[in-house]
């Protein structure tokens, strides 16, 4: 399996994501420049964190016009697995691959801390059984305040599209939302950074089950020995 990690100008968690996927999970991964085509052998995509195009205008608002986004939309439409982390989540919302929007934290400041999250019963991959009732993951963002209109929110709630909620809301997100998926269960977005919680030198290892849950449908074929380095 090949994971494509998109690299926009201003992406800055692309290396971290590649490190987590390739060196820790042992899944072949490559970074793909935003002006290039999505490689044909791509089986899953990570849209990493950072400040794409400086996050000028609105976070993700410029990245959604990047050449690679067309291919990403087609990939997602065919059921391809897509994970947006932090700025990647913002890009997925801006491009319409996920509902809602992320605006400035209600405290107006950037927040970097280890955040406790409550796991929701979302689908067969993301649920308390696979991830645990509660996990801790790093967050690092200035604009993670999830917003959506009442209709969208109630659809998200009814369809169990919420992956996890903040335990102690750090940014003012509606319904304490920290991560969601689309209705078909192939596009995922989250503000917390699972790729920063995969090694013994990290504050915690709770990112591993989250990444494994995401890659799960594609991993059966792999003799995936998870090495924690």
């Amino acid at each position: 399996m090949r994971v494509s990690i998109l690299q926009f100008p201003g992406s800055n968690c692309d290396w971290d994501s590649e490190h987590a996927v390739k060196d820790v999970l042992g899944i072949p991964a490559q970074r793909v420049w935003h002006k290039d085509q999505l490689p044909a052998e791509t089986e899953a995509v990570i849209v990493p964190g950072g400040f794409s195009f400086g996050d000028y205008l609105r976070c993700g608002a410029i990245a959604r016009f990047s050449p690679i986004m067309q291919g990403l939309k087609e990939f997602a439409a065919k059921g391809g697995q897509v994970l947006g982390i932090c700025n990647g989540f913002q890009i997925l919302c801006e491009s319409g691959l996920l509902p809602g929007a992320l605006i400035r934290n209600d405290c107006l400041d950037f927040r970097c801390l280890n955040q406790s999250l409550v796991i929701e019963e979302s689908n067969e991959r993301f649920n308390p059984g696979t991830l645990g009732e509660s996990i801790t993951l790093p967050i690092a963002h200035g604009e993670g305040n999830y917003r959506a209109d009442e209709t969208v929110l109630s659809v998200l709630e009814e369809n169990d599209q919420i992956l996890f909620r903040y335990d102690g809301n750090p940014n003012g997100s509606m319904n304490d939302i920290a991560g969601i998926r689309n209705s078909t269960g192939n596009v995922y977005g989250m503000m917390p950074h699972p790729e920063r919680a995969v090694g013994s030198h990290h504050p915690c290892l709770d990112g591993l089950p989250v990444l494994k849950a995401f890659f799960e449908p594609l991993m059966q074929s792999l003799p995936c020995e998870v090495s924690v380095s």
């Binding site: 195009f53 400086g54 400041d109 970097c112 690092a140 950074h193």
Partner: protein
Amino acid sequence: MSQTSPTPLPPNPDPVLNVEITQELIDQHGILPEEYKQILEILGREPNLTELGIFSVMWSEHCAYKNTRKLLRLFPTEKKDKEAIGQVLVKAGEENAGVIDVGDGWGVAFKSESHNHPSAIEPFEGAATGVGGIVRDIFTMGARPILLTNSLRFGSLKDPHVKRLFRGVVSGISHYGNCLGIPNMGGDVYFDDCYEGNPLVNALCAGILRHEDIQKGAATGVGNPVYYVGPGTGRDGLGGASFASRELTEESAEDRPAVQKGDPFMEKLLLEACLEMMAIPGLVVGIQDMGAAGLTCSTCETASRGDAGIEIDLDLVPQRETGMNSYEIMLSESQERMLVIVQKGREKELEEVFEKWDLYAAHIGEVKEGDRMVVRHKGVVVADLPAKSLTDEAPVYDQPASEPLHVVAARDWSPSQILDISANQVESSLKNLLSHPTIASKRWVWQQYDHMVMSGCKVEPGSDAGVVRLSIAGIDKYLAIANDCNNRFCHLDPYKGAQIAFVECMRNLACSGAKALAVTDNLNFGNPNKPEAYFMLKECVKGLADACTFFDVPVVGGNVSLYNEHGEGSIDPTPVVSMVGLIDHQDQVTRSQVQEAGLELLLLGGWSDELGGSYYLQTEYGKKEGSVPEINLENEMKLQELLISQIESGKIKAAHDLSEGGFMVCLAEMLFGDNKLGVSLSIPEAERLDATLFGESQGRVIVAVKPSDSQELIANAQSAGVQIDSLGTTDETGILKVNFGKEEVLCAKVDELHSVWENAIPQHMESSNC
């Protein structure tokens, strides 16, 4: 047949060249009469305005260290022990930043720089561009930046203007560093009235690189093309280097155009493009950041280092404003620009990289024979100067120095002027110290910094040292970083104060398990033309240099910021010491907070009997006086060697250095990791209770060990000649109880103390819900 009249010369296209150089203009450029005479001798003619501007920035204190160059020679720049780890690969002053060896073929480039004056005027942009400048210095060396820290100094947080500066500086750093994706490991923040109106904003960056990838900032190879890369040049930051070399006055706000505006996104592109370009074997001949003094500094410094000439054409420089003259283009400090010299014939390889990143790469000139820096604009030569005259021939001054009276008075001080504390005041005094913004938790600051990006953060900010794993190099080693400088001690005794800054910094590294490798210093002082301010500078440098030599920890880079003055005089001398250290194994990474009950706490280095210069005198009496604690470098070395050896043998579960606030503050902070913890201990009776609890005697650390290891630790300490006292065992009462002799002097809830410490800065900043 009429006689042809001689063709009149075309009007000079650059109006700057027609300006007459008057005494007033020379004064405005901060050039002294004897310096102007020297310029006339160098040129053999009058300079034009552009040339005058070039001399003024290159001969400013900021670029030329004219008041400090002699003093800086006192610093050791390489290790005496040639076998030890941390050999210096690039020495201080040779390139944009020094580089040291960290083993396995890897090196670490690191340096700190001040952005004090810009931050006083425009805190957000001043601090942001301070980060931008130091990051460029590091990746110019060919290194991938892996961490940032900041040393910040402000006036009293009670002042609304100071709050504005503090908030602006922290958000500027956060804005710029977070966007770059370089973890900011915090640093240190002090609040003292002496910084009112003249805050200090020092930024440090460290990066990692292979030995063979070290880049040079030299223009060599006649005919090699000179490229300008990055965004266009504007009128921002005109003459910032000379601005930074003046005192701040009421009118300084009018200098706002001298403060640059940063664009971290542009810097991120530049960083990635430059590293990509430098990874192409043999392409780059020389590279230099356009920082202070912009295009001027980068052209003459590369030419001077390369023993070559350089010629550039300003018409080819990308510009984002119209109608700029040569003076403006040469002196602009627009951010995020670089000068690159590549191998002739390989221009296309550079151009392709910059095209990918959507950045300008303009071929603006070439390396020439000879030694001249020649600048053309609109078809005429606008500057023609010997490059080395700008970089090497700046005047060097030895200023008169005289010892300030308060320094003399401090030596004769005796604590008998102060009534000893009574038992029932201990809790309130401790809370006063814990809530002093200098001592209180800095979470409000570092939570705004992304300290976890790049997957390397091992010890988050708030411990004695920040520790990052060298993951990006693929090696399982850890780099520790600490900054230190207690201005109170430097104010009262500059020599000892600077030494204390050094040993405290080194002790912070030792507490985290790291062996110190090298120093970068940031010398923040007042106006050197004032004999008292110069005395402080001189003594601090001597103290620091002697400590560096004693411990064989060389200085590999740094920065001098003078003219830090406010309405009532100079700031306290503030020689900020930043040190990097290395930890070989993950198991040796040690934190300052105790995480479990049942551990024995022990004090290494004995009890304090000194009170001079302490924060206790500040919080209880509002005094900045007294004799600075004694400092014994031999004892300090014994202590630190013992500490590191005990950490390496796996005995130490936590270690915290005693500094501001003394024993009680250190002990309380160690328990703040988990509020359920408590400890009950008895202190042997001594002459003074206040000095014992709150005095700041040097060379002391509290460690936590398993009770089964304590006998061995005690034996090892005794044979190393380090005093050791067992304090007590952590329990789950959540109560901190202290007896002095037989009398109980403190019985406080740890969570209450913790909340005082944690909430002090947020309360000042009126932060509501997060």
